[in-house]
């Protein structure tokens, strides 16, 4: 559907036009060291290192094995990260057990790959601005049929900040839920639980337009959302379920306070426009000097809310 709509618009625009392949003289781009690391309190630094490619390079990206990755704080050596095996045949670099990040401290990352300039970046974990705890009441729940024998449970929720900072209103959230699967509902005989299922949501047009899906995966809240000093984000969680065998049990709300580096990087990625014709992409935010990527901190709190029976 999306592809077809896109073509229709292009047809509108280019009804009299022609598309053809050309080869243009792009400037030479030497590969650069790419460092990606998002860190938060209580978890190790984990840095993915790869090399950038020319855009027409169809091969898999290169993940260099011989890399020297160090962290420093206030110019003082903090840790030398060690190599771990990642997913597939890739590596990542991890901090040592006692070297986990803490809020308010600025960490600097140095990545040295032989034959490439040193890649350097710095960031910190921002102070966490949490959301007010709340309960879900049975009276709040709405159930509707969505076809194919499925129902949808809709749960209106208000994510209300205890305190709204004057500046740096960089937040993100993620919703997921546990689904209890029953062998029998009457009497209830539990079969198993589907855990941490991503939860869709609805909201008003303004809110939706100021939320950005990013690959982390979290939903980035545009800083302009808070322009009128509102403190609440109103969403309606949508949980489809089979009324004969399933019941949603818990809703998890991950709420992140982001460093500016985290926010700007992901916001710029969301503005890429997918390399589509006529799109007006923004430059990608880069805080890795001598290389590319993103090194940024965030703080996170996860609330678990029981979904009452209905």
């Amino acid at each position: 559907m999306k592809r077809h709509s896109c073509l229709f618009v292009l047809a509108t625009l280019l009804a009299c036009g022609c598309a053809r392949e050309v080869v243009i003289d792009l400037p030479e781009e030497e590969p650069k060291v790419v460092a990606i690391c998002h860190f938060t309190e209580g978890e190790h630094f984990k840095v993915n290192i790869s090399l950038s490619q020319e855009v027409n390079d169809g091969s898999d990206p290169e993940f260099p094995g011989e890399v020297d990755v160090t962290l420093s704080v206030n110019g003082q050596f903090y840790d030398a990260l060690y190599r771990e095996m990642g997913v597939g045949n890739t590596y990542y670099w991890k901090s040592h057990k006692a070297k986990i990040p803490r809020e308010g401290i600025r960490y600097n990352l140095d990545v040295r790959v032989p034959g490439y300039p040193v890649a350097e970046a710095g960031s910190s974990i921002p102070r966490h601005y949490g959301i007010r705890p709340f309960q879900i009441l049975t009276s709040d729940l709405q159930v509707s049929e969505i076809g194919n024998g499925m129902n949808e449970l809709r749960i209106p929720i208000e994510l209300k900040l205890d305190e709204l900072p004057d500046h740096g209103r960089y937040f993100a959230f993620f919703l997921n839920h546990d689904m209890q699967v029953y062998e029998s509902l009457s009497p209830p005989v539990t079969d198993y639980t589907k855990e941490q299922v991503p939860t869709n949501f609805l909201s008003d047009g303004r809110t939706i337009s100021l939320l950005h899906n990013i690959p982390e995966p979290v939903v980035l809240v545009n800083e302009n959302y808070w322009d009128d000093n509102r403190k609440s984000l109103f969403l309606t969680a949508r949980i489809p379920y089979d009324p004969d065998t399933e019941r949603p049990k818990k809703l998890y709300i991950s709420w992140r306070t982001l460093s500016e580096e985290f926010y700007r990087y992901h916001l710029s990625l969301s503005r890429q426009g997918g390399n589509l014709p006529l799109s007006d992409p923004d430059a990608v935010f880069n805080n890795v000097e001598g290389g590319l990527g993103n090194f940024s901190g965030y703080s996170i709190a996860i609330d678990t809310i029981a979904i009452p029976g209905f």
Binding site: M1, H4, S5, C6, V9, L10, A11, T12, L13, L14, A15, C16, G17, C18, A19, R20, E21, V22, V23, I24, D25, L26, V34, I36, N48, S50, S52, Q53, E54, V55, N56, D57, G58, V87, T90, Y92, G205, I208, S209, L210, H212, P215, E216, N224, Y225, R264, L269, R271, N275, P277, L278, S279, D280, P281, D282, A283, V284, N286, L292, G293
Partner: protein, 882 residues
């Protein structure tokens, strides 16, 4: 001390005046038999001691007479003696000084086409003797000069008409109806001071009058004469490739141009996304362009004014005109409703684009699916009525309705591992303007002209999209995979009232003032979307329960007032100064903006002239959209608390020389843009049938600044069998948004360092001429990526290829150049006249890039997909007037 001295001097001065006045109040005896006035005055001076200063020439027409006064005030004696002559006197010190008493009277009236009775805008009037004052007819063909009594020769002229010299004996206020005969031959344009508005303004750089007769001879796509394309041939005016992307005047955004049609703002001046303008050339009478240095009477936009006026219609006889080209045909009929008092003009234009659209869509790579049915057309309709109520009152009515219609039905079937799938889509979009104006001209005095207009302007864009996908399983069962409909609508509607006064105080001084009030209504993008029930189609989506993403309606009120003066002084200087004040009130904000405008011109010897100006302009309306290139589905929105008014300051100075049939001109400008707006989008609108989800638009715009500077050089040969011009602009334009490009400045999307336009017209015979246009420009900047990397989380749940855009608009498209050729023939007998144009547009078929993007799926470095709009096209137009 100084205050005491001032009081003493003042008292002494007053005492002197009182003493002098006392001389002529003194009673006296006086007699003179058979004396001429001069002789009597000499004798009176001797007998009374009053010092009388006069010249015998003042009393040349007087004969001898006898006077005898007893104890009569001297003032009465003086009056009686000099009653035979048109003289007056003034007491200066202890003297009585006589001087010629000359009354001033106005010469006012209208300049008309002698054949049609249509009033001519921008016609020049020049007094060939005496003061050599000049005047230019206003937007209603009216002029006014105020001169001393005397005999005058007045020359009226207008491009394309035979100049007319008229002798006027000015003893009282005179009203003239000057009728100029059209010059039907292909004549060279002879430029002389005061010849016409065009000639006069050519010497001062601004405004530029477009020559409409020339426009019809220029080679344009399909032979469709287009005034926006002609405008784009002027220095400092740039467009996107082949017109798409709007006009960009001196680095300004496309939404910063005020397009007027009979004084009514037009929100979308183009058809076919910019390929053709909405102005039907057969209905246009005059076009003026100001490039940012517009006078205070214009407001509402920050970069330029294109003031287009339509024709009034023939007052004396019924006439018709037919034009047919490759893409469109138009017809105009006009004639008197009441002979000499009232006339009408009806115009219409319709395209027959379908074969072309289908041909080119099949040529391109985009629309090669089977079952495509692409239909597109545009249309225009103009109505113009006017009625002369009296020699001081006239009313006009103008109406325009025009629009574009695009439809695309699409169907494809394909095998899928699960079954046989059929997709059907239907897209129907239409957009257009409705414009109306009711105007009343009234002459309060012979030198005080007023015009009141009630205006209406409306622009809408609407699209309906329906999509359905069905699958037939191997067992023969059919299942509906998707059924979706969407309706999108955006609208802006204005009602306004405007009154202007023009006071021709004297020949060197004209004062204008006026006020307007506008009610703006915005509906910035409504999307209704829903999944349809079986049996329903996309065409009835709006009648269904739906998900309403944005249904915002906004109202705003704008009040403008201005005062401006045009003053010619010290023989060679002309000062144009004014102040425009605007008050804008919208939901949660109100703004007051003062916009001073100042321009001074010096006319030197040898055809030289110089000028300099400072102009502040502002606008409260903004067009925002995903692509930010002024496409019709982009939204018009008002300034609000979060979207402040845009403001531009322009400084310009220039010099020019006009001599021996040549016009040379160079002008430098510097513009600073404050609070210029852009819409930030992720490009998702591409997936919504062109619609822009305007939800939260105020929070999705970025406010920034910008600069633009450049030098424009023009060399034109205006006479002879070979005529033409070279226009070159060297310019830079950039933008700075804290929210974009990591806060670094970047080139404006239509920034072009070099822009060269060459036009050439060769008269081959009396009835045949050749026209050539060649344009060359630096490629537009676009944002391209040359690098990619993998954004991968350690746990592997996130993996995304990141195309790393280093700089916004950091890459230049290849240079743009194009050659257009046309031969124009004209012939006719009696009242029937024919014109034929044959030629080629983009003669050497240059594939000028409109846009390109890197083909990330290709392994060839630098491989890109390039979009080209107009290839080699034939130019054909046949015109018949009867």
């Amino acid at each position: 001390m100084s205050r005491t001295l001032f009081v003493i001097l003042l008292l002494a001065q007053l005492a002197g005046i009182a003493g002098a006045q006392g001389i002529v109040q003194r009673r006296t005896d006086f007699s003179c038999e058979n004396c001429r006035p001069g002789e009597a005055l000499v004798r009176l001076s001797r007998e009374t001691g009053i010092n009388i200063v006069f010249s015998d020439r003042l009393f040349e027409g007087c004969s001898a007479a006898s006077w005898n006064f007893r104890q009569v005030p001297a003032v009465e004696v003086l009056d009686r003696i000099t009653a035979c002559a048109r003289v007056s006197y003034r007491v200066v010190g202890n003297q009585v000084v006589f001087f010629s008493f000359v009354e001033r009277h106005s010469i006012s009236g209208y300049v008309e086409d002698a054949e049609t009775g249509e009033r001519l805008i921008g016609a020049g009037l020049l007094l060939l003797n005496g003061s050599a004052h000049r005047a230019i007819t206003n937007e209603f063909g009216f002029f006014s000069l105020r001169e001393e009594e005397g005999e005058y020769r007045i020359q009226a002229s207008y491009v394309g008409y035979k100049p007319l010299v008229k002798d006027v004996s000015l003893r009282e206020d005179r009203k003239l109806q000057i009728r100029l005969e059209p010059d039907t031959r292909l004549r060279e344009v002879v430029i002389s001071a005061g010849q016409s508005g065009d000639a006069r303004e050519r010497r001062s750089g601004s405004p530029r009058y477009l020559n409409l007769k020339e426009m019809r001879r220029l080679p344009m796509p399909g032979g469709e004469a287009d005034l926006l394309r002609q405008t784009a041939l002027l220095p400092g005016v740039q467009t996107g490739a082949d017109g798409i992307g709007g006009l960009h005047i001196r680095g300004g955004n496309a939404d910063q141009n005020l397009f007027l049609l009979d004084d009514v703002p037009v929100y979308s001046p183009s058809h076919a996304l910019g390929l053709f303008s909405i102005y039907n050339p057969s209905t246009v009478s005059s076009v003026k362009l100001w490039k940012g240095d517009f006078p205070a009477r214009y407001g509402g936009r920050a970069s330029s004014v294109l003031d287009v006026r339509t024709r009034e219609g023939n007052m004396h006889e019924y006439k018709g005109e037919l034009n047919t080209g490759l893409f469109a045909s138009s017809a105009v009929v006009e004639g008197p409703l009441v002979e000499g008092k009232s006339s009408f003009l009806l115009g219409g234009r319709m395209t027959y684009f379908e074969p072309w659209v289908n041909y080119f869509s099949k040529r391109g790579n985009l629309l090669t699916f089977s079952g495509d049915d692409v239909r597109y057309r545009f249309y225009d309709g103009n109505i113009r009525l006017n009625y002369t109520l009296s020699d001081r009152d006239r009313v006009y009515f103008s109406y325009y309705r025009g629009g574009d219609v695009f439809k695309n039905d699409f169907e494809q079937s394909y095998n899928d591992p699960k079954g046989f799938i059929t997709d059907k889509s239907r897209l129907a979009t239409d957009w257009g303007n409705s414009i109306a104006a009711l105007r009343w001209n009234h002459l309060l005095r012979d030198n005080l002209f007023t015009n009141t207009t009630v205006r209406y302007s409306r622009f809408t864009y609407q699209s309906r999209l329906g999509f359905r996908s069905d699958i037939v399983y191997p067992n023969g069962k059919t299942y509906e995979l998707a059924n979706y409909g969407q309706l999108y609508r955006t609208l802006i509607r204005d009602w306004s009232w405007k009154t202007d006064f023009t006071w021709y105080v004297s020949a060197p001084l004209t004062v204008r003032w006026g006020a307007s009030w506008t009610s703006h209504n915005f509906q910035p993008g409504v999307i209704t979307a829903n999944f349809l029930q079986p049996g329903q189609t996309g065409s009835n989506v709006d009648s269904l329960a739906s998900i309403l993403l944005n249904n915002e309606k906004l109202g705003a009120r704008e009040t403008d007032g201005y005062v401006e003066g045009e003053w010619e002084f010290a023989r060679h200087f002309r000062l144009e100064a004014g102040l425009n004040t605007s008050y804008f009130q919208v939901r949660d904000a109100d703004y007051t903006v003062f916009q001073p405008r100042l321009r001074i011109n010096r006319k030197g010897g040898g055809g030289w002239s110089q000028w300099a100006g400072y102009h502040r302009t502002a606008q409260f309306l903004h067009q925002i959209g995903t692509f930010n290139i002024s496409l019709p589905f982009e939204l018009w929105v008002p300034s609000t608390a979060k979207a402040p008014p845009e403001q531009v300051d322009q400084y310009s100075f220039g010099t020019g020389k006009q001599a021996a049939g040549w016009n040379w001109q160079a002008e430098f400008y510097y513009k600073s843009f404050n609070r210029v707006l852009t819409f930030i989008s992720s490009g998702d609108a591409l997936y919504t049938g062109g619609a822009v989800d305007a939800s939260g638009w105020e929070d999705r715009i970025a406010s920034g600044t910008g600069t633009s500077r450049g030098i424009e050089i023009t060399a034109e040969k205006l006479t002879g069998k070979t005529r033409g011009g070279v226009v070159y602009t060297l310019s830079r334009s950039d933008r700075l948004f804290p929210d974009l490009n990591s806060g670094r400045p970047f080139p404006y999307r239509f920034d072009r360092l070099h822009d060269l336009k060459i036009t050439l017209r060769q008269e081959l015979t009396d009835w045949l001429e050749a026209d050539v246009i060649w344009g060359f420009a630096t490629g537009n900047p676009i944002t391209l990526t040359g690098v990619k990397f993998s954004h991968e989380s350690v746990e592997g749940e996130v993996q995304r290829e990141v195309f790393f855009y280093t700089e916004v608009n950091g890459y230049r498209l290849p240079v743009y150049h194009r050659l257009d050729l046309a031969f124009n023939a004209r012939w006719g007998h009696g009242n029937v006249k024919h014109a034929l144009q044959l030629g080629t547009y983009n003669t050497y078929n240059r594939a000028n890039p409109f846009y390109l993007y890197i083909d990330a799926g290709s392994s060839v470095k630098g491989k890109a997909i390039q979009f080209t709009l107009l290839p080699l096209l034939p130019v054909f137009r046949y015109e018949i007037k009867f």
